[in-house]
Symmetry: C2
Subunit: 302 residues, 2 copies
């Protein structure tokens, strides 16, 4: 039968059974290894359960995201996993996908989601606790002047990480200096270019909690250009634990988010809801773990 070249037509079966064996996966930025790993994890877990992944990429554009969702909806997926573009509006998403297709949102919250009865599951990282842990560790190493470096202050993840940072400082009885919260485009190049902003005050910080690994790696390059030595006379932490973090110079202390495992988890959560629509809305916030490497030396003696 297989010799005759017969292949089962699952789309016909799905039509008759009124079920779907596909899940749509919409990613904001595939060229970021964090999201690429997440996608790989989703695809892996879906495959195990007999589902096939319909891929869409929004390239951080809410307009493209709408188009992509509309196009994917025409294939009637069993559910949607959405890692939203920056500043995605909940009403917008609802218009594109309706209220009948299970939705799992990853990583950042949608804007204005509480107003309507539009319901979806959420999977995200514990950004606040993670940044708090990183900051607390720097304080334990003797640093007293610690900056928060990089990211867009309006983005939800940056806001949360800044909160964790101030949590830790306040718990240690240290005043927060707003000049030490420095905003940059969350990318290596821009982070590298703004390193001098850290040394605008006297005394200057001896350590920086960075928005993410890309920013931290960029900052380390910028520090070297300024004749500072990350890992020796300046401490730097990141967030994400991308593959580059472990082989940086020096290797980067960071918060591990395990994106591939998050992808598998997202697939599990979505399929649970697809099979049991009566489940209450769930919001899963995953703890992140401190990975200590050589980029965080003790504070210099005063």
């Amino acid at each position: 039968m297989h010799r005759q070249g017969y292949v089962y037509n699952r789309t016909a079966a799905n039509l008759r059974q009124r079920v779907s064996s596909t899940v749509a996966l919409v990613i904001n930025d595939l060229s970021n290894p964090f999201f690429a790993e997440f996608a790989a994890g989703v695809d892996e877990a879906l495959g195990v359960k007999g589902y096939v992944t319909l891929l869409g990429s929004s390239n951080e554009s809410p307009a493209r995201q709408r188009q992509v969702l509309a196009s994917l909806m025409e294939h009637h997926p069993a559910g949607i996993i959405l890692s939203p573009a920056e500043a995605s509006d909940a009403a917008d998403i609802e218009l594109a996908i309706g209220r009948h297709t299970p939705l799992l949102v990853f990583n950042r919250e949608l804007i204005g989601s509480t107003a309507t009865g539009f319901d979806y599951d959420f999977l995200g990282l514990d950004n606040r606790a993670g940044a708090r842990a990183a900051t607390t560790r720097l304080l334990a190493l003797g640093h007293r002047r610690v900056a928060f470096y990089g990211g867009h202050a309006e983005s939800s993840s940056c806001r949360e990480r800044r909160l964790g940072y101030t949590d830790a400082l306040q718990a240690a009885g240290i005043a927060v200096d707003p000049r030490w919260m420095i905003e940059t485009v969350p990318a290596r190049l821009e982070a590298s270019a703004h390193a001098d902003a850290l040394f605008a005050t006297d005394p200057a910080p001896t350590a920086a909690v960075c928005y993410n690994d890309a920013v931290a790696l960029g900052l380390m390059l910028g520090l070297i250009r300024l004749d500072r030595h990350p890992g020796t006379d300046f401490a730097v932490t990141g967030f994400d634990d991308i593959p580059e973090a472990a082989v940086g110079m020096p290797p980067l202390t960071t918060m591990c988010a395990a994106p591939r495992a998050r992808g598998r988890q997202a697939a599990e959560l979505l399929l649970q809801r697809a099979t049991t629509p009566s489940l209450p809305r769930r919001s899963v916030i995953v703890p992140v773990q401190l990975i200590e490497r050589e980029s965080t030396p003790h504070a210099p003696h005063p």
Copy 2:
């Protein structure tokens, strides 16, 4: 009508029309930014033409690749774009997908493909010409002792790049020293660890053509550990132009392969064949371009 929550059912339409609006994309390694960018390019170009991407990832396992292809085939895609796992067998692939679904193979050739009448298009990089150009440039900078560093010698792309390297040396009348062709796992960490192999001979090389950017970035770290200074007293070239190459220390001279553009091109080629099955087999070899950065200084004076 849209207000009523109606969404067009394209799968039903496809069933009736006996056409498909999906294309399967199977990727060997999504966590490699080169392939993630390629996937993003494919998805972008397919979306423009009204197709949806069915994603599959093989994680470099031929066994998983077979499963993934079989599962995707049940959705009767209009065609398949395959970036094969290492050592993929043509007969294996044919068994999984049959001879009626258009196939485009990207990046590496399948093993044993010429025997049967199994037909597919191919899109790859001009590895040989690229490595030749990199080597020729190092020679023009005055280097006379140039190594080829990294990669698995059996892989088709490594073989081709080594050929380009020897081409350039022979054209310059320089003998190839087999001790200067050094094999490593094609990853940063392993490349970093083997740097000392470059200095096993006396005199030692003053420059290295690396298998790819990951290897080159790893080698630069390894050189520093050995108190050598890439970009000052040693020259290094890469291959791929991944985002990290431009912001390395020093920025890396490399061959630009533009993976996102390759993805778009792959989608175009496949859709052409899907619409015009009578086309003859095509093999498109894309030239790569030298991007010169600071990692390639002149040879030191003897």
